[in-house]
Amino acid sequence: MISLAGRDILHGWGKFVLTSVGLGLLIGVTLTMGGVYRGMVDDAKVLLDNSGADLWVVQRETLGPYAESSSIYDDVRRSVFEMPGVERAANVTYLATQVRRGGEDTRVMVAGVEPGEPGAPGQPGYLTAGRHLARSHYEAVADEASGFRLGDTIRIRRNSYTVVGLTRRMVSSGGDPMVFIPLKDAQEAQFLKDNDAILQQRRRTAANPSLNRPGVPGMLEGVIASQGVNPYVNAVLVRLLPGADPEKTAEHMRRWMRLEVYTRAQMEEILLGKLIATSSKQIAMLLVILAVVSAAIVAFIIYTLTLGKIREIAVLKLIGTKNRTIVGMIMQQAIALGVLGFMIGKVSATFWAPKFPKYVLLEVRDAATGFAAVIVMCVFASLLAIRVAVKVDPAEAIG
């Protein structure tokens, strides 16, 4: 049996291929937009995953450490450690900053983690090159997206760090690559002012008569020394013992330590529901519009493609072709167009997705949904065209 649809496609194959390429690119854009949205949500989730924490202990009445700034004393960790159900507790600081390498600046999120055992909360879970932090000062593990290479010397605030390890997909909720440095350096980077500010602070203190009294030697030095301390961190990451109830432990800490404690679910809610809520909704809105527009365009293309063939259909009718054959031809063509377009779209989206500056996550489920939507759209659009085709008067073929 000769496939009428196939023959027709072969007849006008240039037109068919070009149309499917156009359709494919459109589907590719839609898939990519979906990927951008998924990537955004994934960035937020991956931040939580990578921290390896079950609980986040932060300053009271803040949504820290990601959505709001939070600062607590670094010795809180010890009291957290004593709480029932806690396996490990680790101090962590986060600082969004510019990191200098050579002459250029890169925007990164600097995470201060306690060097030591890999896999401890806060530490990168896996590396793609190099090694973990081994010294307690002046080493860094960077995300590949930062563009840093092993052995690079980068400057964060007042100290230089050697990149000793690389990792991947360690990003802040905003998608900035993360750089891990030892906690003590990070505390200094975050809370220690620059030299000018320190000097001016000293001068200001020296000019204050109540802090620099004549006849009390050593007082000024003591006051200045007390200004240089920075016993703060942004959060304490807590990993629970297997089987411990996060909510119960969190409640216990909230009650007795008078600190804010978030569980994984609450943290996700903060990140997704508050921090990236508007921007992700923005993308989602755009995605919906794009999907609708793509659907409309697919429908129009198939409809006009069929209308263009109305004369030939009339001829088919004239020679006594059954309606079912004609309907089959139109529908097969539409589905072929859809399948081809989807393939082109998927391939192109996969190829350009890694080129995006931020993470684009193309999920199989999204692709499957997209494929189903495309086919449904094509069938629906072909129905419109079929209605026209079936109604066509065979006389038109002559007239």
């Binding site: 023959r7 060097p115 890999p118 896999g119 896996y126 590396l127 793609t128 090694r131 081994a134 016993p231």
Partner: protein, 396 residues
């Protein structure tokens, strides 16, 4: 329409569609969650690692001698600049004595006066003594005469009375002389005291060393206890190094250390640990150790300069060693992904010491020669398909 051309077109279209379909299948299976995870694999090596400790410290002198005033006063002169070498006993400056010199002079005059007073009192003693002796002789003589009744009892009594009077006068003169001598001694001691106080106004270096700081200038008023100069002993230069407590096992006195000064980053000085302080810092959770240079650098590092210190511990006996990047946490346990017949499985391990190059000694769970996953582009699960590659990305 000729048949041949249709066949040609079909072939062309198929030729066009086949690569597309191939590409599609390739992208579906090689990207996203279905794609195999590129990993690098290494063999567990049996080797000896020498763990090392790393800390940062501050250059300091064993002791800083703060030289200052013991009493309030104005600085009259200072004669030592920062960085200058001074010797033990050298006078570096002096406080204004105000009226102390005059008071010393007055005390000297008073002492001289008391000297004369003592002399006068002593001559009075001699005089009283002479009188007393004469009166005694007279009294004896008259007593003998009275016995022979050559003189009257009254005359003899008068001589006896005279003897007693002169004796009392002699005692009194002696007491006066004693008092004058005591007064002279008091005045002498007072003079000595004033001279000592005068000496104390001088700022004297107690050691051979260099002037590290000069904290007040000529003319300024200092209070008692305020330091004016800081003198440090350059022979006793050391580095107070802080080691993270959790990463400092094996730290002990005598271990060799490599010292890098912050201002001379490309120079490594040899040193050793002098002692580990018995008191750790509970706030910063660090141990403090004193490290000394084997040979004091030619140009002295300034006190307070930061130094990085690496302490090499003795090498451990051979055993299975893995890169620390291979250690992963999965399902709440620390372990490695072992590669066997192209698939991976998680194996919990017990880790031992590690060195500063990221090599970790495995105590339990792995044998040398097993193949393990080192790097991967994402977290692994037992269901992950993996693809072994030489290296990941272009980062390495």
């Amino acid at each position: 329409m000729r048949k041949g051309s249709v066949k040609g077109r079909t072939l062309l279209l198929v030729a066009l569609l086949l690569p597309l379909a191939g590409l599609f299948v390739y992208t579906m299976t090689n990207s996203g969650p279905l794609a195999p995870v590129p990993v690098t694999v290494a063999e567990v090596e049996s080797m000896s690692i020498s763990p090392a400790l790393y800390g940062i410290g501050v250059v300091e002198s064993r002791a800083v001698h703060r030289i200052g005033a013991t009493s309030p006063g104005r600085l009259l002169w200072l004669d030592a600049q920062i960085g200058e070498r001074v010797v033990s006993g050298q006078v570096l400056g002096e406080l204004d004595p105000v009226d102390l010199d005059e008071r010393i002079e007055a005390q000297r005059a008073a002492a001289r006066r008391l000297e004369s007073l003592v002399a006068a009192a002593e001559s009075r003693v001699a005089e009283a003594n002479a009188r007393k002796e004469y009166a005694e002789a007279q009294a004896t003589r008259y007593e003998n005469l009275r016995k022979t009744k050559a003189v009257s009892v009254e005359a003899a009594d008068a001589k006896r009375q005279e003897r007693r009077t002169t004796a009392a006068m002699w005692s009194s003169a002696r007491a006066d002389a004693e008092a004058a001598r005591a007064e002279r001694a008091r005045s002498g001691a007072e003079l000595q005291g004033l001279i000592a106080r005068r000496e104390d106004l001088k700022l004297v270096s107690p050691i051979d060393g260099i002037v590290a700081a000069r904290e007040a200038e000529k003319g300024s008023v200092v209070v008692a206890g305020q330091s004016v100069f800081q003198i440090v002993d350059t022979k006793e230069l050391r580095i107070s190094v802080r080691f993270d407590q959790s990463m400092a096992s094996g730290l002990r006195a005598g271990l060799p250390a490599e010292i890098v000064l912050r201002s001379r980053a490309d120079e490594v000085f040899a040193g050793h640990i002098l002692r580990v302080e018995p008191i750790a810092d509970p706030i910063t959770e660090e141990l403090v150790a004193k490290v000394v240079f084997e040979q004091t650098p030619g140009t002295l590092p300034p006190l307070g300069e930061l130094a990085e210190v690496t302490v090499r511990l003795p090498a451990l006996p051979e055993g299975p060693v893995v890169p620390d990047a291979a250690l992963r946490r999965f399902d709440g346990r620390l372990g490695v992904w072992v590669m066997e017949n192209g698939s991976i499985s998680f194996r919990p391990v017990v880790t031992g010491r590690r060195d500063l190059d990221g090599r970790v000694r495995i105590l339990e769970g792995l044998d040398a020669g097993e193949r393990i996953v080192v790097y991967s582009v994402k977290a692994l699960t037992p269901r992950s398909r993996v693809k072994v590659v030489e290296r990941l990305g272009d980062g390495a």
